[in-house]
Amino acid sequence: MDLGAINPILLIASIMVSATPILLAAIGEMVVEKSGVLNLGVEGMMITGAVVAFAVAVNTGSPLLGFAAGAVGAAALSLSFGILTQLLMSNQVATGLGLTLVGLGLSSLIGKPYEGVKAPSLPRLDIPVLSDLPVVGRMLFSHDIMVYLSLLLVVAVWAFLKFTRAGLILRAVGESHDSAHALGYKVVRVRLLAILFGGACAGLGGAYLSLVRVPQWTEGITAGAGWIALAIVVFASWRAGRVAVGAYLFGGITVLQLNLQAAGAQVPVALLSASPYVITILVLVIISARGMHGAPASLGRSFHASN
């Protein structure tokens, strides 16, 4: 065993890249859940984003256009969930699972012509001056633009929920849709917007997989990343900052165990892979034992004005 072979600078740099797709998807899902909607279809939206982004990037030669298209495509798909759960009052759990089915099926049909094709690459964006700094330069400041964007998004969501009126309304809707409705807020509209935002973020996450992380289109490319994003939101107890911590932890455990293996350590892989979920349960228990309501109170409940 040679643990000295693990370079902590490179380790953190690679955790940042590896966590970006789940971070993007999780921050979007957090906003959705904050509005009181549980969308279990993250996996389906992510993979749809991945395929749409890839197709557009290959056809236009522009990865950035690809990202935009991935976000729009996944948001469009999430609209079907929005219409069903918000306008037609269908059950959110079942609809979310259906969304995953639809997304997985649709994406592989769209993706057929793009198998084996190479995507245009997204250049690394070395931030001037900062990227030349020793240690932190390589670790934090020489990634591609989406890594920074994902972190920026976390800050933006945090500020939006904490400081803006719209953020306050969104939280009110998630805590008690009946009171929010009584106060004259458009519950359904707020939730639809949140669902679209969640879809777009999941789409960006998927796009990051197909355009940067892998970068190629293959069926089943997300391989469960959407489900991990759902877990991260819970782990984070619906706080933006902790979503980032959670994504880096969940992504980091995989990277770390692979690094340990490469360094020659015997690693109990199954135990390590299960540990983030166990930690998440512990976090949930702690926040609920403290008497704080972790989850938005209206999470998963349908709303109808006549209720």
Binding site: L87, L88, M89, L101, Y277, S288
Partner: protein
């Protein structure tokens, strides 16, 4: 302005009409999908819905297979539906299913190669206990700390999947399997095999238990005080408390029942149709069962029908791939659409459409 207005009582007419309308809509849109993919739409729809039941070439085999495929879905969905009625959202049946399979299989394999007749009953008990114990974790956390059971049960699915990966390449690995991950095959060990009870009918113990569960749930929900308490807890938690219902007891009951049934489903599957514990032995029955529970409107008979319909699309979808060469993904999409339409048109059961402004504000 189109408005939805909640019906005072679910419409009886729409209760029956909605699923039919959804199936017709799916056939139309699915037909369009298949014709875009270059298949004959009429033929594709016929292959999915008709051939598994009536095609002379396949039906003799695929009709019993509908039971095999629907059995675990119905068994799990019945357990879940009772919890859902009480407002207890256990979405971790997949994990309970896995743990039931692991515990049941482990209990049996520990006694390999004994041929005692007690082995299979022992496995059944161990399977039910395994699923039950896994569901007790969210139950205890919910009653003790008020922790959200949706999330705990979902997280436990991932933990169970990791345990499955670990035991199938470690503890339960077949010593004669040349190092490949996977347990011994129960089909080659009579004492532990969940075989067909009557040849060529698809009826194995899991299907029998599924039917018993349907009847049991129906009796409990309509005729028994416990069923009344469960429904009351779901519909009016405060009233339930005044009626002397102990909410913690309901949580333990509902989660425990769902866990045990999911565990049984896992055990029957692993010792019968699947045959062995493998790394990806769970094929999503626990999640599909949630869909089945809602398609069946949380009613035992509805679940029975929904489970069979779901099984039909699986088997019909396989035939469509085989006979018409449509891609596997299109079947997945088709199932998703069917689900969306069923969930969507269901709105008419509980709501009526009003055009114009509402009369009473």
């Amino acid at each position: 302005m189109i408005k939805l207005e909640k019906r005072p009582q679910p419409s009886r007419l729409w209760t029956y009409l909605a699923p039919l309308l959804a199936v017709v809509l799916t056939m139309i849109v699915g037909g369009i999908l298949f014709s875009i993919l270059g298949a004959n739409p009429v033929e594709a729809i016929r292959t999915i819905f008709w051939d598994p039941l009536f095609n002379p070439q396949f039906a003799g085999y695929s009709r019993p297979q509908l039971l095999v495929k629907a059995g675990p879905l119905i068994l799990i969905a019945i357990g879940l539906s009772i919890g859902f009625r009480a407002g207890i959202w256990n979405i971790g049946a997949e994990g309970q299913y896995i743990m039931g399979a692991i515990c049941g299989a482990a209990a049996g394999l520990a006694l390999y190669p004994s041929e005692s007749v007690l082995i299979f009953p022992l496995m059944i008990v161990a399977g039910a206990l395994g699923g039950w114990a896994w569901a007790m974790i969210p139950a205890v956390l919910k009653t003790r700390f008020g922790t959200n059971e949706i999330l705990v049960s979902l997280m436990l699915v991932y933990v169970a999947e990791n345990i499955l990966a670990s035991v199938s390449s470690g503890l339960l690995r077949n010593p004669d399997g040349m190092g490949f991950p996977g347990s011994r095959n129960f089909k080659q060990w009579e004492a532990g095999h969940n075989a067909e009870l009557i040849a060529n009918t698809g009826m194995h113990w899991g299907v029998v238990f599924a039917f018993i569960a349907v009847i049991g749930a129906y009796v409990m929900l309509t005729r028994h005080i416990t069923g009344f308490h469960i429904r009351l807890t779901g519909e009016a938690p405060k009233a339930a408390r005044f009626a002397g219902v102990n909410p913690a007891r309901i949580v333990f009951l509902c989660l425990g029942l769902a866990g045990a049934l999911a565990g049984l489903a896992g055990l029957f599957e692993v010792s019968g149709p699947a045959g062995q514990i493998t790394i990806d032995f769970n094929s999503g029955y626990g999640f599909t069962a949630i869909i089945v529970a809602f398609l069946g409107r949380l009613h035992p008979v509805g679940i029975l029908l929904a489970g069979l319909l779901m099984a039909l699309t699986y088997i019909g979808g396989e035939l469509a791939q085989l006979m018409l060469g449509v891609p596997g993904a299109s079947i997945q999409l088709f199932q998703g659409m069917l689900l969306f339409f069923l969930l969507g048109v269901d709105v008419f059961t509980n709501y009526r459409i009003r055009i114009g402004t509402r009369e009473v504000a």
